[in-house]
Amino acid sequence: LAYSKPIPKPGTHTQPFWEGTKNGKLMLPKCDDCSHVHWYPRHICPHCHSTNLSWIEASGQGTIHTFAVQHMTFGPWAEEAPFVTAYIDLNEGDRMLTVLRGVDPEKPEDIQIGSAVVVEFEQANEDVSIPFWRVVEEG
């Protein structure tokens, strides 16, 4: 079944990230000078303003920072509603947005901020695989 949701168009400086997701890797930009990881990818480190940036392979692990349940949405996602969106605190630092998997959108009170999540990738087309995060089962 063809992927029907919006598909990002890789930018001029973000190819290492999209190359990574195609190969099942989560690549993050890291500053060679202050060692901070940042997200989204920039032309300059937002922490120390160095332009000496590299890409590292991340653990693909994180925790839920906050979330919401989308009941009324527009476009291709509308037919999925309700679904849970979440901001993920990456173990390496900084934060990503995702549609959260492994949770029940009808029971938001059961979703816990701070829960562990892992990344997985869904192929949207031959150039782009999109990262999604899934709650790790307890125990």
Binding site: P6, G11, P46, H49, T66, M72, T98
Partner: protein, 403 residues
């Protein structure tokens, strides 16, 4: 004799992006901006963290977010090729007035590369070529409308302070009470709108879910509005029959554009814009007898009340829950019925200004814009607008002519 502004500021450095002209590899306008900014910083030895004012043709939010800086003067004047000379003029005035000492004026435009990159969509002023990297990394996940974003801040605020969504519902209930005193409010009465008139906290909670935990009555309306104000010198003000309301303090700030970059989901940059406004006014939160707060959502009003120092962190909602912000309370807030129940057209900053003027000039109870009980006795009012996804803030401290 030269004007007081004459020589009040100087251009101290100027630089360009690394590669300009017919770039071999297509380059985005954003990258051209950032390279030039980095180069002028290196040339002058002024670290980017010292930039206080950012002037560009519509790019200022994205530039500040990309650089990770929190400016206190933001200008996006975009009137064509002469915009940058105007930016210098505006920066001169800002520096002369003592608001900032260091202004950055930036340009990035990829007229050549854009033809190779094609359109990536984006905002006015961005130019063709690519979506912003923030949009690139968030567009896949089904967000778009304001509540789909703001609900994430509400959940984090609830988690951090142990609040329930019902706590914030009191804001919608009390704000509706104000609307029933304003004949111009969209939700004034059942006669005016089928869903108008008083509402209960239970009705707020049981209304249609938009983005959990925001039900539709936690959300502002989207209707039509037009408004205008005139600001004038004391000399002109003295010649008019209308009552002046004095601008005692003003401040502005921003923390991000895309909510992905909102470091602390429980705080907005109003803590900075309010501090600047209070400092300019020589007044503090305890001097404020009224507040007009952008209430795009109940959570927006709650957080902003905290940022303005009107309530302790995590307890913004209690101003409404305890009745202090309600008709008859000692700190009336959103006396027109707010964006929740008076009027919200998309950008609510103008209605805030109009209601603050009416209240402080004693014209809030005229049978058209207010019933008996709407006019308050407040002589001071803090006004705070919030833009984007809890992104940008502007704060004013206004005082009546009687004060």
């Amino acid at each position: 004799m030269p004007a007081p502004l004459s020589r009040a500021a100087a251009i101290v450095g100027a630089a360009e992006a690394n590669e300009i002209g017919f770039s071999e590899t297509p380059i985005t306008a954003l990258q051209l901006h950032i390279e030039a900014i980095k180069n002028v910083s290196d040339q002058t030895g002024i670290p980017l963290s010292r930039i206080e004012g950012v002037f560009s043709t519509g790019w200022s939010t994205e530039l500040c977010e990309h650089l990770g800086i929190t400016p206190k003067y933001i200008d996006t004047t975009a009137v064509g090729g002469c915009s940058f000379e105007m930016h210098v003029h505006h920066a001169l005035a800002a520096i002369y007035s003592g608001i900032i000492d260091v202004a950055l004026i930036s340009h990035g435009e990829n007229g050549h590369s854009a033809r190779k990159l094609g359109s990536g969509g984006g905002n006015y002023g961005r130019g063709a070529g690519a979506a912003s990297p923030a949009a690139e990394m968030t567009m896949a996940y089904g967000l778009g409308s304001a509540p789909s974003n703001y609900a994430h801040a509400m959940v984090r605020h609830m988690h951090r302070y142990g609040n329930t969504s019902e706590d914030y519902a009191h804001i919608a209930k009390v704000t509706r009470d104000w609307a029933t005193l304003n004949p111009r409010a969209a939700m004034y009465s059942k006669e005016k709108h089928p869903f108008g008139g008083p509402i209960t906290v239970e009705q707020v909670q049981e209304s249609r879910m938009i983005t959990w935990p925001l039900t539709i009555l936690h959300c502002c309306m989207v209707v039509d509005h037009g408004g205008a104000v005139i600001v004038a010198s004391p000399k002109v003000a003295a010649s008019l029959s209308t009552k002046p309301v004095w601008i005692a303090g003003a401040g502005e700030s921003m923390s991000h554009g895309n909510m992905l970059e909102m470091g602390d989901f429980t705080k907005t940059s109003a803590r900075y814009s309010a501090e600047a406004a209070y400092t300019m006014a020589g007044l503090g939160p305890s001097d404020m007898e009224m507040a007009q707060i952008y209430d795009s959502f109940t959570i927006t009003a709650a957080i902003t009340a905290e940022m303005l120092g009107l309530a302790p962190l995590g307890e913004g909602h209690s101003l409404w829950k305890d009745g202090r912000a309600a008709p008859g309370g000692d700190l009336p807030i959103n006396t027109n019925g707010g964006g929740l129940s008076f009027n919200h057209s998309g950008m609510y900053g103008m209605p805030l200004l109009i209601e603050a003027y009416r209240q402080l000039s004693g014209t809030a109870e005229d049978g058209v814009n207010g019933d008996k009980g709407k006019q308050q006795s407040a002589r001071t009012c803090v006004v705070n607008g919030t833009g984007g996804s809890l992104s940008t803030t502007g704060t004013l401290v206004l005082v009546s002519d009687d004060d």
